[in-house]
């Protein structure tokens, strides 16, 4: 009953959700095999490993799949606990971290997507909503170095991949995130000084190219 040993990540280069996992693995210095998936032609392995959602990212550890990015990140934190903790040890602080990571999940991606997909009235509404979401996050960050305080953690990992998309959001919706939320922009710069983040995130211009392709695909152009 030999199980394939090791760590494999089924992913898509531009996915913010996949990047969360890559950042976590890098923080823990875990060696893994990266497998780029073609989402128009999903691999047998992906469909078998995530039969419920058929989505990336999927972490496969010693042959066993883990799905859903925040669940994967928490799993990584539990399996490799000795290096740089991603969740704090205090239960109340952990609950707060989970709450805000969940807030990012519920709000940022869905609203951000509307910023590059929609036009006119609907786009204006999405813009207002998005600014409110960012301001809420910024208020939670306050004057802390990271969302978790002194240590880079779950909420930072949950949010930082979306910062590469800021340029596209700004361009299509016509606003400046620097102007609206300068503290958040400073926080993003601090995160990018970490090797795990620097080597995982793509340049905004590259993401912008990708968003251009998505817009054509969804008929938003």
């Amino acid at each position: 009953m030999a199980e394939e040993k090791g760590v494999k990540l089924l992913d898509l280069w531009s996915s913010p959700f996949g990047q969360r996992c890559r950042i976590a693995l890098a923080e823990k210095e875990v060696e893994y095999e990266y497998k780029e998936e073609n989402l128009s032609d999903k691999s047998e392995l992906l469909l078998k490993s995530n039969p419920i959602y058929k989505k990336i990212p999927v972490l496969i550890h010693d042959g066993k799949p883990v799905c859903e990015s925040l669940i994967i990140v928490q799993y990584i934190d539990e399996v490799w606990p000795s290096k740089t903790p991603i969740l704090p040890s205090d239960p109340y602080a952990r609950a707060q971290a989970r709450f805000w990571a969940d807030y990012v999940d519920k709000k940022v991606y869905e609203c951000g997507t509307r910023l590059w997909k929609l036009k006119g009235e609907a786009l204006q509404e999405a813009k207002e909503e998005f600014i409110l979401i960012l301001k809420t996050l910024e208020a939670e960050l306050g004057d802390k170095k990271y969302f978790g305080g002194e240590t880079f953690g779950l909420v930072d990992i949950a949010l930082v991949p979306f910062t590469s998309w800021f340029y596209s959001y700004e361009t299509y919706a016509g606003f400046s995130i620097e102007q609206e939320c300068s503290k958040l922009v400073s926080w993003a710069k601090r995160c990018k000084e970490r090797a795990s983040v620097a080597k995982t995130l793509y340049e905004p211009k590259k993401i912008h190219e990708f968003v251009g392709y998505l817009r054509k695909k969804y008929g938003a152009e």
Binding site: K64, V66, C67, I71, Q74, Y75, E78, R94, A95, R98
Partner: protein, 220 residues
Amino acid sequence: MSRSNVVLLDHWVSPYAMRVRIALWEKGVEFESRQQDLGNKSELLLRSNPIYKKAPVLLHDDKPLCESLIIVEYIDEVWPSPPLLPSSSYERATARFWADFIDKKFAEAAIKTWRSARSAEELEAARNEFFETLKQLEEFLGEKDYFGGETFGLVDLALIPFWSWFSAYEKFGGFKIESPKLSAWIQRCMERESVAKALPAQEKVLEFVCMLRKIFGFDQ
């Protein structure tokens, strides 16, 4: 040393609040339940959950915790016995995945059966989605006593509250829920004191949903 103070900003019909009540009773934690009027939200609720302004909110020594599954994990960590989450990291990830599935897929489909489906087509789609997610849950349950295996845990606790809403789903969804596997599991859960205490009678929930539908402008 003073006893810790646990207050639940509660709502009798909310499956999410039921989850928290079940968890607290499973752990034998004494708490004060304060029923919330969601049509006229209290200062305390708005202050404790400014982001979503919803119940349940757990106040532990006045510190607020929001979002039912997050509250349940907190309860499990602060009062570790008996454990609601498994000890192996992989099984924990699996439990979290299915609890999240219940929130993302099952609960969404369930809500559509009585609240959002406006046309016959929408209702048909809602019905199909409901049964699809139920089937996926049944498959995951398999031959196990509980979703987590031999002991009552996170996934069981996440799902069982919705059983109190089954009459409402059936009536407005226009279907009958028949699953011998799930029925056996439901019975097992209902034998637990925490669950029996936490779930309101289906008739009461149905009455409540009828009233809500009138408010939302459905029906008759």
